[in-house]
């Protein structure tokens, strides 16, 4: 079953912000990573999906329905916004009870559990909370009704590493229980541990959608070499080479493609040293994100 479906979703607003022709389908039970730098359109995509803002063209559906026409579909959905702002005069427990009151089921027990897990003081005024603690309120608020779809927009910013760890465990647990997770982040390494698929968004457009396993197994190699003589850029100007840096006798680059082709190019120079490594995903990510000049 398709849980999230975006069809040619386009949203223009302001001058440069917005998204263009975004197509995505997230299946039930998967943890889907949505990766892009700040300002790429991640939040815009999510807000349009939730019906918080309206698309310029195209459509968005959750569980097969549009959130604007069927707001009741949002019962099955928990959302943690990237920046959390709540009614200042409320205590944490008041806000959580208010949030729970929209779902017509008793969430008292779940609120206690989550608060304990996240080490959150329910009696404090939201006003007095630090950024990280407000984020925890957001997490509990998004999960207290045990939604079938969890949408997280930059969920870990402001959380200390220990809390991040707990948070990931919590999300993994919800996923095991059957929840679908849509996880937006600008840090690839934090989603690579848990996501099954990942989409990359850049300047409002989806530039790549891949299985995490494919990404990890893909034949990206980071190659560094030193030679006896000066290296010219032309020596390695062949298809599949990117991020080429030449510095006198040394060169390094990322290569994707037929390994024999690059080996031929490498053996053409008089080598002094060579290393071939698996690049981490962060580097692949940078590969997608570096702005074209």
């Amino acid at each position: 079953m398709t849980v999230i479906e975006l069809n040619h979703l386009t949203k223009h607003y302001g001058k440069s912000r917005g998204i263009r022709d975004v197509n995505l389908a997230v299946e039930e039970g998967e943890i889907f990573g949505f990766i892009g730098p700040n300002g790429a359109g991640k939040s815009t995509t999510i807000r349009t999906l939730l019906g918080l803002i309206y698309p310029t063209s195209g459509s968005a559906a959750v569980f097969g329905r549009n959130c604007t026409e069927h707001p009741e579909i949002r019962k099955e959905l928990g959302y943690l916004p990237s920046e959390v702002f709540y009614y200042d005069n409320m205590r944490v427990i008041d806000l959580l009870n208010y949030s729970a009151s929209f779902y017509k089921k008793d969430c008292t027990k779940r609120i206690r559990e989550l608060a304990e897990m996240m080490d959150l003081d329910l009696k404090k005024k939201i006003d007095d909370l630090s950024f990280g603690n407000k984020k925890k309120v957001g997490i509990v608020q998004g999960l207290l009704h045990e939604p079938k779809l969890i949408i997280l927009d930059e969920p870990t910013s402001g959380l200390d590493p220990l809390m991040q760890q707990k948070f990931f465990e919590l999300i993994a647990e919800e996923n095991r229980k059957g929840a679908t997770v849509f996880f937006s982040s600008h840090i690839l390494s934090e989603v690579q541990k848990m996501c099954s698929r990942v989409a990359f968004i850049k300047e409002g457009e989806i530039i790549k959608l891949e299985r995490m396993s494919t990404l990890q197994e893909s034949s990206y190699k980071r190659i560094s070499l030193e030679s006896a003589a000066a290296i010219r850029k032309e020596d390695f100007s062949l298809a599949g080479v990117s991020h080429l840096e030449v510095n006198g006798n040394a060169a390094k680059f990322i290569f994707k493609g037929n390994i024999n082709a690059i080996m031929k190019a490498i053996t053409a120079v008089e080598l002094r040293n060579l290393s071939v490594e698996e690049p981490d995903l962060e580097e692949i990510f940078m590969h997608y994100y570096v702005k074209e000049d």
Binding site: L50, I53, Y54, L77, F85, Y98, F102
Partner: protein, 265 residues
Amino acid sequence: MNIFWRELKAGRKGLIIWSACMVLLIASGMGKYTAYSSGGASGELFNQLPSTVKALLGMGSLDVNVMSGYFALLFLYVELTAAIHAVLLGSSIIAKEERDKTAEFLMAKPVSRSTVVTFKLLAALTNIVVLNLVTLISSLVLVSIYNKGQDITGEISYFLWSMFMVQLVFLSFGALLSAWMSQAKSSGAAAAGVLVGSFVISKITDLSDRLSVLNVLSPFKYFSYNRIVAGEGLSPGILILTVLLTAGLSALTYYFYGKRELDIG
């Protein structure tokens, strides 16, 4: 319903302050009644004032020496206060979700925008009813303390009815402004501006009969004070028109809020 209770709770402190101010306003206004009604020289003085001055003081052709006329004079300021309350409440109750950046929280809940508007307007309506009742009761009590002449309970009730209608118009107008203006935050200032404008119009039309067509722009002029003082109550036709105006403004509020490009983050 939860939105309704939430709004009532959030507005409680403000409502108490407005109610206290209203009681103080009526109490201090009634305290000056003796100066107007003591008869003799001061009564003569008021009658001799030029009609434009009387108009600007809000007396018009009212006889401020008797309680009903004096109450009408005081009522002008009471009504203005209630109208300011209503217009600010109407605009802020809609605009505050965007102003306080809580719209993203609220609108991700399983509620439609029209449900949100409905419960917010109901909460605001409750607020203006409470302020109206506080005004009614404190008027009746304070007037009875100073009144030595004819009982004016009926007149006061009609005045407060007319005030309720004016509150409704301004409440729905404030709500409409915040649903319609792209910068919801500035809707309060705009609403207050329009209110002052309509009050000034009501003063200008007092000065000359030839401008009375402008009264349509000023809800303060919808219900004739003289008619109430004369014991004739409210004009049913105007009552109906005012209700229709409120309904129209509210319908537009739903329409514009439904289409609104929410300002999130």
